[in-house]
Symmetry: C2
Subunit: 233 residues, 2 copies
């Protein structure tokens, strides 16, 4: 069923790959490798894979630990030489990710509604990174999976949004740049905007997003109508 | 604790990437792309990712369907033109995978013990592929995750081996070419031989294999002692 923007009462964003640019880790990785993009790609892929694996194994550890484990795998796989101090700097780059260029303006324009961030990140990682990215002034509720001890795409994770915001699932728009995350949220019952920056196919998991957008700022037109129709801004 | 081969009463093998060479799909993929290796790599990665995601989502479908979904993603991502008949041929290549060169001889030499295969594959996929690969004469028990409706690395999957073979977990050696699968089995409590054909690092999931081998045939020496010590063969 076609989703109209007026049905949406709250907007919940994924963090990494949605508001915060994981690609900005290349600057830190350049200190340890001549091919920082390959390093970031493998690090991020392993980080996600380890979250996927630890939930069904019943071996939850927090996202900071998973991120460190994925880095250790990446360093070993690429046969990099990384001293302990350099390893710390790489990990701390997760606390200082760059926001996407349209993240701040999008949150500002949507701030008349309840806003939230729902992420695999640990509370400290999320609070620090949102602060650094200048997204704290818009006071999003921050939901970390950490108190639940399970990772996305478990339905229990997405359930936090309607439960804590007091808004029905079908009135919440979940925005994610990760196709599997958008599928997980849709499977639970949230309305979903898939932020497809790279122009890739949607993962084939039996779900479809309500909306597909290329840029975060498309959300404001979708939710509030084109700016012309609102009498300019 | 160091594992001695004499402690092992039964040997359980993973199928895909362990006995059966997923790389042999390149022959079928060459019919639809000039870069069949890239096609196989993405297809296999998405197939595994979809199993990892569907279990926590509570959206189990069988491995044949997951394999088809992963193929559809791969075809879309690589922008290949694949007609329905060609798609069927690609899927059916999973029923005719080549065994690794040392698979048959290894099963033959270990056949004095209970042997089994424990795999994500659907029963039909496993029976057909093992028959085609010439591994049926060694009468392994075939455990598919399908009756359980959940994928590896859930502990419930690995539990099938001791439950059905009537052998204690610590007396069962699980052999897998997939590092995350070896970690899942170790986390449950089986003894584990990781078949590291590619010489890559072990995934950092808080587990370690009991043994690391490069070829399946190393198992016979590990389990029965060097051939010289057994009076030749």
């Amino acid at each position: 069923m076609m989703l109209r923007g007026t049905e949406i009462k709250a907007v919940v964003f994924d963090a990494y790959g949605t508001l915060l640019d994981v690609g900005s880790l290349t600057a830190a990785c350049a200190a340890v490798t001549a091919d920082p993009s390959a390093c970031v790609t493998l690090w991020r892929a392993k980080q996600l894979e380890y979250t996927f694996l630890r939930s069904p194994m019943g071996r939850y550890v927090d996202f900071w630990r998973v991120t460190a484990d994925a880095l250790d795998y990446t360093v070993a796989h690429l046969r990099l030489a990384v001293a302990p101090a350099a390893r710390e700097r790489l990990l701390e780059a997760w606390l200082a990710l760059e926001p996407y260029p349209d993240a701040e303006a999008t949150l500002r324009r949507l701030a008349s509604r309840p806003l939230a961030v729902l992420s695999n990140g640990s509370p400290r990682m999320l609070e620090t990174a949102l602060e650094h990215a200048g997204l704290r002034p818009y006071r999003p509720h921050v939901f970390s999976v950490d108190p639940l001890g399970i990772y996305k795409p478990a339905p229990r994770v997405y359930e936090e949004a309607p439960r804590c915001l007091g808004v029905a699932p079908e009135r919440i728009l979940f925005v994610s740049g990760n196709s599997w995350d958008a599928a997980g949220a849709a499977s639970f019952g949230l309305r979903v905007a898939w932020l497809n920056r790279a122009g890739v196919p949607f993962d084939v998991l039996g779900q479809q997003p309500d909306w597909e957008i290329r840029l975060l700022r498309e959300l404001t037109d979708r939710l509030d109508g084109p700016r012309d129709a609102r009498g300019g801004a």
